[in-house]
């Protein structure tokens, strides 16, 4: 029975996809007015309960029409994604497939109903603690090794890919999937870049019919980023703390224009390798010693240091990493090590959609006296409860920063 219903829904979606224009728009002017929607609802009620003979809209049409009237002012929606591509929609998205797990997280912040998602990347399925509700969803593989058959057989109406990450792979995925099913629409969002984060959340809010949720989420986000920016913008360049950032590979730092460099900047720090033209250069330990940073930030969560995060409650590993840095030869002369300002942070809260939580941590570490009121941990907890809708207590679970 459910199979037949699904089939019906699918074929209707297919028909709807072919028929351009807003459903239940009787006069065909691409605007669904209140009287048009009212007529459609009445016709449908008439047909269902009163034995009316007027040709009534299908349940799917009616549902979509109500959505469009409610969220898009009864008109088609034209949006521009982060790759600059413009798409016009005359139907809401009901079967969403995402290769981009960061966009899934952002959509969850906007209150997306999980049953609108039909396929996710393998990274989502590998993270049952953070994505419990998606564990039974179809596995699309990764952007580098996509499972095209799976992606096509779940019949998505929209596929989400990264906008500026692994561009050539994403372009290939788009080309191949389009040749299998020309009806699929493609959207490119990053959902982890500070520069486009707010704009993307707004656009996605509109696209998903979650404008109000988007506004609420963005005000929460702006509250954090604005607080940090308001304080650090007033700090003159010469008074800024110098920061050495190291990724999970020893001595692999962040150069000019890299994501981590940007976040140090946002938190008011001065990256000691910020002028290095290589995005993620491997630096000479001597250079770190001679540049003598005030603060050292080490990122864990991948490579040899793949621990911590949501699924790891053992906090001792962070402590070990911190101690190892202090024990590097001659590093005890570095101001940061001498002053005990070596901090460990997990990539989950600095590299992805939760970057603003990590930025808040960085700001507090850089200028503890200026941010006495800022509580990054509380921000994190609020994000998880209120926006990610997760029953997750940071006091009991997870390892994200050291010293905590």
């Amino acid at each position: 029975m459910t199979r037949r219903l699904l089939l019906l829904a699918c074929s209707l979606c297919l028909l709807a996809g072919m028929a351009q224009g807003v459903p239940c728009d009787r006069d065909g002017d691409d605007t669904l007015t209140a009287p048009e929607l009212a007529t459609a609802i009445l016709d449908s009620l008439d047909a269902r309960f009163m034995g009316g003979t007027v040709e009534a809209p299908s349940p799917v049409d009616l549902r979509d029409a109500a959505f469009i009237y409610e969220h898009w002012d009864g008109r088609t929606l034209t949006i521009t994604d982060s790759s600059g591509r413009t798409t016009t929609l005359s139907r809401p998205l009901r079967r969403i497939a995402l290769f981009n797990s960061d966009t899934l997280e952002m959509m969850r912040s906007l209150g997306l109903e999980p049953d609108r998602v039909v396929g996710v990347s393998k990274y989502v399925l590998e993270d049952p603690v953070f994505y419990p509700e998606y564990q039974g969803t179809a596995n699309l593989g990764s952007t580098w090794a996509p499972d095209y058959e799976q992606a096509a057989s779940i019949r998505p109406d929209a596929v989400f890919l990264y906008a500026t990450l692994s561009e050539s792979s994403c372009a290939d995925i788009e080309k191949t999937l389009r040749s299998i099913d020309p009806g699929i629409r493609f959207f490119r969002f990053d959902s982890y870049r500070p520069a486009t984060y707010a704009e993307e959340a707004r656009t996605l809010g509109l696209l998903l019919g979650k404008e109000e949720e988007a506004r609420r989420f963005l005000s929460f986000h702006r509250n954090v980023t604005g607080t940090v920016a308001g304080v650090v913008d007033a700090i003159p360049a010469e008074d800024r703390v110098s920061v050495y950032l190291e990724s999970w590979h020893d001595y692999k730092s962040a150069g000019k224009g890299s994501g981590y460099d940007e976040k140090i900047e946002l938190a008011g720090g001065r990256n000691i390798f910020g002028e290095n033209p290589v995005e993620y250069p491997v630096v000479d330990p001597e250079a770190v010693i001679s540049r003598n940073p005030d603060v050292i930030v080490k990122i864990v969560g991948a490579g040899e240091l793949a621990f911590g995060g949501y699924g790891d409650d053992d906090r001792s590993s962070f402590e070990t990493v911190c101690r190892t840095i202090g024990n590097r030869p001659v590093w005890d002369r570095i101001t940061a090590v001498r002053d005990g300002r070596v901090h460990i942070i997990h990539s989950d809260v600095i590299g992805g959609p939760e970057y603003f939580i990590g930025t808040a941590y960085l700001a507090k570490w850089f200028y503890p006296d200026l941010f006495t009121d800022l509580d990054p941990r509380a921000v994190h907890q609020q994000y998880l409860e209120e926006f990610q809708h997760l029953d997750y207590d940071l006091d009991e679970h997870g390892t994200f920063v050291y010293p905590a």
Binding site: S11, A145, R155, S166, S179, E279
Partner: protein, 353 residues
């Protein structure tokens, strides 16, 4: 008496060759039949074939609802079929290219890898992926991979043609080129972000994921154009295999035909690996396997090793798509897993004999 004996031997050999080639064609056909039914969409065998028919005769086949629901026709025609055919053509092309290279250079180690062509293609792809620079906008990776591969081939061709370089020197030059291009690739990886590096690594694994009908068409045209040429000149290859002096005394213009063969083989290799990434291993193994079975006469060796290459690549791709459900292991890796043990086994057996 002696001549009669030789004739009998030859007749037996010819029979063996015919048997081998027929066998290969049958195996290839069977594999193709299986390959189109394999995939993570979980279409049944019957549905896969109905989908093929439905695509061939649009409107004539009444599709069951379940197939409309799962987009079976789209999946089979938009994805599986061209991938399967691409595996056949690519395996065929890479194997004959390897056969020709080994024949011309009289060296069992000659292959797109040892001549630097594969690493040049990787280098070109890295330039496109990491620096975003290239010659063919819209097709940066493919264009760069092809151009760099042809650049390496051209360098070897030039050295052979202008300096009259011998086969050993050519292989040395090829290996030197390989190290040079690998160093450039490594340097680019050093510069790149981890995502881009991963993209390069995945490209270098070699995979059929990027196949499509237009690409299949292009590769087929090149392979179909080159193979008859090679078969036509197969006697020259046989003569060259006996040594430069022998070839010369038989009237083969040694330098010119060597260079010509190298160019043809490189072109085929470059056209294939620019789409797939480096699956160069087939070019090394297929000719050896074939030579062990049917001998070194290039008139039959070329088509037969082409078939062996097609069987290996298609077989490897079938396994690559099924070993881990829902994931596709890059076929370049699978070919090595599959081909090398078999290759070693053949060698060991021959030693014993």
């Amino acid at each position: 008496m002696m001549t009669d004996f030789g004739r009998e031997e030859y007749a037996r050999l010819a029979e063996k060759r015919a048997l081998f080639i027929t066998g290969l064609i049958l195996v290839l056909a069977a594999l193709t039949g299986i390959a189109v039914t394999i995939g993570s969409a979980g279409l049944s065998v019957a549905d896969s074939y109905i989908a093929i028919l439905a695509g061939l005769f649009p409107g004539a086949v009444d599709l069951p609802d379940r197939m409309v629901e799962s987009n079976a026709v789209g999946i089979v025609w938009g994805w599986r079929l061209h991938r399967v055919l691409f595996a056949i053509v690519a395996g065929f092309g890479l194997a004959i290219a390897g056969t020709v290279m080994q024949g011309v250079l009289r060296n069992p180690l000659a292959s797109p890898f040892t001549l630097g062509i594969a690493s040049a293609a990787s280098c070109g792809a890295s330039v496109a992926i990491i620096l975003g620079a290239g010659f063919l906008s819209g097709y940066l990776v493919i264009g760069n991979a092809f151009l760099f591969a042809m650049l390496a081939a051209g360098a070897i061709y030039g050295m052979a043609r202008l300096k009259g370089m011998g086969s050993e020197t050519m292989i040395l030059a090829g290996i030197a080129l390989m190290y040079l291009f690998s160093a450039v690739t490594s340097f680019l990886q050093y510069l790149g972000t981890s995502e881009k590096v991963q993209e390069v690594v995945f490209w270098m694994f070699g995979s059929l994921d990027k196949s499509s009908w237009p690409k299949l068409g292009l590769v087929t045209v090149v392979v179909v154009a080159v193979v008859p040429l090679l078969l036509w000149r197969a006697w020259d290859l046989n003569a060259l295999a006996e040594g430069d002096e022998t070839a010369k005394s038989l009237g083969v213009p040694v330098e010119r035909s060597m260079a010509g063969f190298m160019l043809a083989a490189s072109l085929v290799t470059a056209v294939i690996i620019c789409f797939t990434g480096t699956i160069g291993f087939i070019g090394l193994v297929a000719p050896h396997i074939t030579r062990m079975v049917i001998g070194a006469d290039h008139r039959t060796l070329i088509p037969a090793s082409g078939l062996v290459g097609a069987v290996i690549l298609l077989g490897a791709d079938c396994l690559a798509r099924t070993v881990i459900p829902g994931a596709i292991i890059p076929v370049g890796i699978m070919t090595a897993f599959l081909g090398i043990p078999f290759f070693v086994y053949l060698f060991m057996r021959r030693r014993d004999a």
